[in-house]
């Protein structure tokens, strides 16, 4: 990716992360749509021998030979039996029955996590710079599990099974399904086994935002990643016949519009169908759009397809207006005709002009790439939000990372829009989603693994979470683009990832497999359900009082019973901190958005005299009364003056 390494401070990472030997031993496995191995992001120049521990393979198949792997791309496998038995044999003229990526998504995520350095990267001139993966010295292994018809759980499980055999260190999964109990969810089941082998599993939180309870991949042994913006934008400017100007975003790179105002029409008035405003295929009347700029509403069909529909009908350009569902969030696309996306407010203002002027006119100017945009990051509207619908006591997402307008490697099989009629071929593409933020964290986790090979997956996640930030440099709280207001831990989890601080967290919250089994006992799983998830008999001790609140998680989600119902109004959480830095005395501070919930930490001071020393504390949350709609947020921070070990708190009623 370009820009995100500097946005994350990785340009000064040499002092914090090993440059070659240790990093070269770390292998990131990516379950996705495969890989386009010829991309420079997978160049192995300067890489040493493949680690002796690596047991993976490079499988041959359609358009892909085992010779495509190298010292960078150390493994490439594909899993299609589940897919083929459900949807029929793969048509090899349409998609490659091999690790070859015909889609682009897998090449993008793999290169984001661990792509090599590529100078002169750009998409049609946009976002130019030096591209690199987060862990650019780590190795990559791809496991193709997603096909044109989707990603099937039998294939995902088979890939995770093989990745564990192969000895990956980090697994990156930018995919998800619905929400089901952990023992029914293949990704949660596979991730549990991976965690037991010391593999960190990073998953995308989902693009179901901004509504609450929209998360996927919420098992506590998974690192769940939401998405935020960068300080980079691709502005485009709309000028209307009434002299008013508006801003939007676009990655259009073809011929400019004529240097004059063009006739302008609302798609809904250039169609005979009721949803003509959406610019669905075949719905525009060519005589009514020819030579004009057409305003289409966002929704239902792909954004780039709307542009293609306008172009096919003879339109000269397109303005794509957000509706309620997307608000002011702007996602840039490499449209096939001059086009820009605009926010809902701008869209409404433009529509007002369209309906008030008998002969409306407009034009669009393209502004290229702009950096230094503030405020940034802001939480992306699409990023899925908590509370966690499976276990409300575990706060998810864990963290946010860059996931909007991310440039990374792309397939040679399709153009940047992915449309069949797009015959452009690009080395890099710019796309958005929690699919893009997840591999950022996977790569950063690989960096931490290289710097601290002895750290468990939970320790790595803890370091990433407790050092994440929730305020801009001016002290103002991170914003949520969906509301324009400060975001909450249900939106950003622990905050935005800060890898330099994560390299030296001071203290960590560690969790081992037995701790997770105790957590499962607290969920009151039956022996059969536990065995399904953990692959062994584990008997919960009937004399022991298990509590979900006792899982040593680096964040706090407190769920009080609804007002009027029975239940204690004091809930106690216990935590254990492990020292991974120098000796020191840490003092706690508690902050909260409301005094209605009393938060007491005991003890208030923890002294560590040696490495790996453990100290425990308890937190009591007391709520005299809460209305059913009130959420309270806060932070619990331990500091020795040099390190700040910060945990978000989210308090709600169930």
């Amino acid at each position: 990716t370009t820009r995100t390494p500097s946005f994350l401070g990785l340009e000064k990472s040499a002092d914090f992360f090993p440059e070659s030997d240790a990093m070269g031993d770390v292998i990131v496995g990516v379950l996705d749509t495969g890989v386009w191995p010829e991309r420079k992001s997978f160049d192995d120049t300067g890489f040493g021998p493949i680690p002796a521990s690596w047991k993976g393979q490079c499988e041959s198949g359609t358009n892909f030979s085992s010779a495509k792997c190298n010292r960078k791309l150390v493994g490439a496998r594909y899993f299609s039996r589940g897919y083929e038995t459900t949807l029929g044999p793969i048509d090899e003229s349409e998609e490659s029955k091999s690790p070859r990526d015909d889609d682009g998504h897998g090449t993008h995520t793999a290169s984001t996590a661990a792509g090599s350095i590529v100078q002169g990267a750009n998409l049609l001139g946009y976002a130019s710079g030096t591209a690199r993966g987060m862990a650019n010295r780590a190795r990559v292994a791809v496991y193709k599990v997603c096909w044109e018809g989707g990603c099937f759980s039998s294939d995902i499980l088979a890939a995770m099974d093989k990745a564990i055999d192969d000895n990956v260190d980090v697994l990156s999964l930018s995919l998800g399904g619905g929400t089901s109990d952990y023992y029914k969810d293949s990704v949660a089941i596979g991730a549990f086994a991976a965690m037991e082998k010391g593999i960190l599993v990073s998953c995308s939180a989902g693009n179901g935002g901004p509504g609450p309870f929209s998360l996927s991949n919420v098992a506590p042994w998974i690192t769940t990643v939401g998405a935020g913006t960068l300080d980079r934008d691709f502005p485009a400017y709309v000028s209307l016949g009434n002299g008013k100007n508006f801003s939007g975003v676009s990655l259009y790179a073809g011929d400019s519009l004529p240097n004059k105002m063009l006739p302008f029409v609302y798609a809904g008035n250039a169609s005979n169908v009721t949803n003509g405003n959406l610019c669905m295929t075949g719905t525009l009347i060519p005589e009514k759009v020819k030579g004009k700029i057409v305003l289409c509403d966002r929704g239902i069909n792909a954004r780039v397809q709307k542009g293609s529909v306008v172009k096919a009908a003879g339109g000269a350009g397109m303005i794509l207006a957000n509706t309620d569902a997307n608000g002011e969030e702007l996602v840039a696309d490499a449209h096939l005709l001059p086009a820009t996306a605009v926010g809902q407010k701008t869209g409404d203002a433009i529509k007002k002009y369209l309906t008030s002027d008998p002969n409306p006119t407009a034009t669009i100017l393209f502004g290229g790439t702009k950096v230094g945009v503030e405020p940034s990051p802001v939480v992306a509207a699409f990023s899925s939000r908590g509370p966690n619908s499976i276990t409300p006591e575990i706060l998810k997402p864990d963290i946010i990372a860059p996931g909007v307008n991310i440039l990374a490697g792309w397939t040679g099989a399709v153009g940047p829009t992915g449309l069949e009629e797009d015959d452009r071929r690009v080395e890099f593409n710019i796309i958005s989603g929690t699919s893009m933020s997840c591999p950022h964290v996977s790569g950063l986790a690989a960096l931490l693994k290289g710097a601290h090979p002895e750290w468990s997956p939970a320790a790595i996640r803890s370091a990433l979470m407790t050092t994440a930030y929730t305020a801009y440099k001016n002290g103002e709280a991170l914003l949520d683009i969906a509301t324009g207001k400060p975001s909450t831990p249900f939106d950003h989890g622990a905050g935005h990832v800060d890898p330099i601080s994560a390299a030296n967290p001071g203290l960590i919250y560690d969790i081992n497999a037995d701790d997770y089994l105790n957590f499962i006992c607290a969920l009151k799983y039956t022996p059969s359900q536990i065995n399904t998830l953990a692959r062994r008999n584990f008997t919960c001790d009937s004399s022991k009082k298990y509590s979900v609140a006792d899982l040593n998680y680096p964040s706090f989600a407190v769920s009080f019973p609804a007002a009027g119902s029975d239940g204690s109004n004091t809930i106690k959480y216990s935590r254990t901190l492990t020292n991974v830095g120098p000796a020191g005395t840490y003092k706690v501070t508690v902050s909260s958005t409301s005094s209605s919930v009393k938060i007491i930490v005991e003890p208030e001071t923890l002294s560590f005299t040696r490495m790996n020393e453990k100290k425990s504390y308890t937190v009591s949350f007391t709520a005299p009364s809460m209305s059913s709609t009130t959420n309270v947020f806060g932070r619990i921070e331990w500091s020795d003056g040099k390190h700040v070990v910060s945990s978000p708190v989210a308090i709600s009623q169930t």
Binding site: T85, C151, F152, S154, G433, T532
Partner: protein
């Protein structure tokens, strides 16, 4: 509708493998064959699941679920890219 085959993930209790089997894959195969002569395994899992995936009718899946040593027979789910 009962004849339509779907993919299921079959989770087995490895500790309940009868002593007559010296290899767990033979036990899996025998369990599968006890409900369907024609069903074939898609994958035998080693690390993530004690079990396998196979195409079964709903009736076969139900029948398999009641066999000794079977923990769960879960229908395949489709996941999507984010």
């Amino acid at each position: 509708a009962m004849e339509i085959k779907k993919t299921y993930i079959i989770h087995m209790a490895k500790s309940q493998m009868p002593a007559t089997f010296d290899d767990h894959t033979h036990w899996y195969d025998s369990s599968l064959k006890s409900v369907s002569e024609s069903a074939e395994m898609l994958y035998v899992y080693k690390n993530v699941v004690n079990g396998f995936s196979a195409r079964l009718t709903a009736q076969e899946a139900e029948s398999l679920e009641s066999q000794p040593g079977i923990l769960s027979v879960l229908p395949e789910l489709k996941y999507e890219l984010h």
